[in-house]
């Protein structure tokens, strides 16, 4: 028995060590052995868990941006592309250190603390999900490490008065207003009363709740009538009850405050029930590559907000070049969140370079004077600079519709590359 138990214990220890190794793999992983003159950028993203596909897409984008900063790309009109490394720090290279949030707020904070305390990173970026960014940035603020968030939308993140938190992405109030402006324009163009009633699906984390609150508030102010709002967990194994209830309310248009996997399941469940509103719009998550590749043709006629409309952006030489590089390296072009993560790393490199040192206070001060012109961005913005709350000043969204297997810009009308289709054709009429 004693022998048996010791054998059991040995197996257990081996298994646990293996699990520990697997669990920590993302925290241990580093880009290259650290030379003395590197600037350590801690990247806090969901590399495992339900949001892992998003984290991996962001990781690819950030790695490509770091490659551009660390090596010479004289033909690219991007910040620091022409030089090798950061010229004001003697050519110091960017070293990326990754930590996995597993898509949860608790892990977000501990992963950030790990990067600050164990890895002694100089600056941080992350975390895609607003709820995770919220806790991760609290740790960064506590340790006075500059934290750039390129990809979370909850407005409250920049309302906290944090000194070391910067956001290079438009907030939820901006894009929810864009949605309402779009639908108001639809009623003007297609006749008053085309769209009157609204339904909302929203996942129950900070982002989903806040986004939907803003949509509701602005929609009601614009005269739309809410007929159903459904809050749900994005980890749900089944969304039949949600869709059934929405079908019963039968709104003219639906806002889907959903992430990626739940967007896919909603589309599939709507198809299962043979139900559609006249129009359905999601955030930029709806346009994520994973939704496109998984939902496929079922995604036809759905709408998504987009900061990085490929049909317009890819006409620009710079964006087309980056798309080519991404395609060659990763087999896919950047989607919206990936384009923002890519830009985020360039912003960090620019700030550190202008700071001229790895001193965190100097880097933080440099963020305040960021001013990158639009022609040096792959995003279609006039420039990137921050206001007194450390929030991006500019930034605008387009509305896209998935038509014939491609996202096409349908609004603003004057930028449209395709005609908006309304109402969405019934499932059995396609």
């Amino acid at each position: 028995m004693k022998r048996k138990l010791s054998k059991t214990t040995g197996t257990m220890v081996a298994l646990l060590m293996l699990v520990a190794m697997l669990g920590c793999i993302s925290e241990e992983e580093k880009e290259t052995p650290a030379p003395t003159a590197t600037v350590k950028v801690g990247c806090v993203y969901p590399l495992t868990g339900n949001m892992a596909s998003r984290g991996v897409a962001s990781r690819q984008a950030v790695e490509l941006a770091a490659d551009i900063v660390n090596n010479k790309y004289p033909d690219l009109n991007l910040p620091l592309a022409a030089s090798e490394g950061l010229p004001n720090l003697g050519g110091a290279k960017i070293e990326l250190v990754w930590a996995d949030t597993r898509g949860t707020a608790e892990e977000g904070r501990s992963a950030t603390e790990y990067l600050i305390i164990n890895e002694e990173v100089d600056v941080l970026m992350g975390c895609y999900q607003s709820a995770v960014t919220e806790t991760a940035s609290v740790a960064a603020e506590h340790y006075k490490v500059p934290f750039l968030n390129p990809d979370s939308a909850a407005a409250s993140l920049t309302e906290r008065g944090f000194e070391y938190f910067w956001r290079s992405s438009p907030i939820v109030t901006t894009w929810t207003q864009n949605i309402i402006d779009f639908y108001k324009d639809v009623n003007i163009k297609y006749g008053a009363g085309t769209l009157q009633t609204l339904g909302i699906f929203n996942e129950d984390s900070l982002w989903g709740m806040e986004a939907s609150d803003w949509v509701l508030q602005k929609a009601q102010a614009a005269g739309f009538i809410l007929v159903e709002r459904i809050t749900y967990s994005r980890d749900s194994a089944d969304l039949s009850a949600e869709v059934l209830r929405m079908e019963q309310a039968d709104p003219d248009w639906v806002f889907m405050g959903s992430y990626v996997s739940d967007s896919i399941l909603y589309i599939k469940t709507m198809k299962e029930y043979g139900w559609l509103p006249k129009a359905a719009i999601g955030s930029e998550n709806m346009a994520a590559n994973e939704v496109v590749s998984t939902a496929g043709e079922d995604l036809e006629y759905f709408l998504a907000l987009c900061l990085f409309p490929q049909d317009i952006a890819s006409v620009r030489e710079l964006t087309a070049e980056i798309n080519d590089m991404a395609m060659e390296k990763y087999g896919t072009v950047f989607d919206d969140p990936a384009a923002r993560a890519f830009t985020g790393l360039l912003l960090i490199a620019d700030a550190v370079n202008r700071a001229g040192s790895k001193d965190k206070e100097a880097i933080n001060a440099a963020f305040a004077t960021t001013n990158i012109p639009g022609e040096q961005l792959i995003l279609l913005w006039e420039n990137i600079s921050f206001d007194e709350k450390h929030q991006l000043k500019a930034g605008r969204y387009a509305i896209q519709q998935y038509l014939n297997g491609e996202w096409k810009t349908v609004w603003p009308w004057d930028s449209a590359t395709a005609t908006f289709v309304i109402p969405m054709p019934e499932w059995d009429e396609r």
Partner: protein, 288 residues
């Protein structure tokens, strides 16, 4: 709120409950016979869904066609899982077996991340796409087929347990391992077969789920929690209790979501779970 709406929610509940039942049966039978709570059960579900997707993607096999293949493979996985890993923990304290299955779960989950990447995979254009319409009601073909296959699989399982010599030996082992051994039952072989049956059940569930749910490394967790609730309601170790529990959980979830509010649908499920643990910890049909 009309009666058709309520009836539609009820139909949805029965259909999805069938899925929970099938997952729960595999969990329950392993517990009933061996006293092991298999925390890796959800990850075996995930793996079987991946097998279904692989057969579809690389061999063009519809999940309905690949189902027997996946089940056969998972019976072998069940044998191997017992022979090379779980056998060593049979006489160990329960906490050891829990940690062991939990470790297997993590290895499988993170292994899936490495091998399959975190992308979502969906099987499209299979023969069960679409819905059946009965007047004003509709049922997903995939979920309806899953329900029918669940009934067929469980009838097969019940017949096996009731009428075959091996089935009787399994039941005897579940009732009292030592007595069964003294009566000449090869308990080691029974454990081996039980693991095979447990994973066969989960393979049926995983393959059928892949027809209406996206496949990705974390998918097991959502289903496992509901399967645990089903087993707790029906009773640990009771196969028919697990079936009953699964269907009731499905109905409670869907009716709760449709009649009260969808955000609370899982709250109702886990309130039942807690109440059962508090007032009837053996579950409705459990013996342990």
């Amino acid at each position: 709120m009309d009666s058709a709406y309520v009836l539609q929610a009820l139909i949805n509940g029965i259909m999805i409950g069938g899925v929970y039942a099938l997952i729960a049966v595999g969990l329950s039978i392993v517990w009933g016979v061996m006293g092991i709570v298999n925390f890796a059960h959800g990850d075996w579900l995930m793996l079987s869904a991946y097998f279904s997707w692989i057969f579809y993607m690389y061999a063009g096999l519809d999940p309905l066609i690949s189902l027997p293949l996946v089940v056969a493979i998972f019976i072998l996985f069940g044998f191997a899982n017992y022979k090379f890993i779980m056998k060593r923990f049979i006489d160990a304290p329960i906490v050891i077996s829990i940690v062991a299955t939990f470790s297997i779960s993590l290895i499988m989950r993170f292994g899936a991340f490495i091998i399959f990447k975190p992308d979502y995979r969906l099987i499209k254009d299979h023969v069960l796409e679409g819905v059946y319409r009965f007047g004003e009601f509709q049922v997903s073909r995939a979920k309806f087929a899953t329900f029918l296959i669940m009934i067929a699989a469980l009838l097969l399982l019940f017949s096996f347990l009731k009428y075959t010599k091996t089935g009787k030996a399994i039941r005897a082992t579940a009732q009292d391992r030592d007595v069964a051994k003294s009566l000449g039952v090869n308990v080691d072989r029974i454990f081996l077969i039980t693991w095979g049956i447990g994973l066969a059940c989960v393979a049926v569930a995983g393959t059928m789920i892949s027809t209406f749910f996206y496949v990705f490394p974390m998918m097991g967790i959502s289903f496992l929690l509901l399967a645990f609730a089903s087993v707790a309601l029906g009773g640990f170790g009771s196969v028919h209790g697990a079936v009953f529990g699964g269907i009731v959980i499905g109905i409670v979830q869907q009716l709760g979501g449709a009649l009260v509010y969808p955000a609370f649908k899982d709250v109702f499920v886990f309130v039942i779970f807690i109440l059962m643990l508090m007032f009837k910890p053996k579950g409705l049909f459990g013996k342990y």
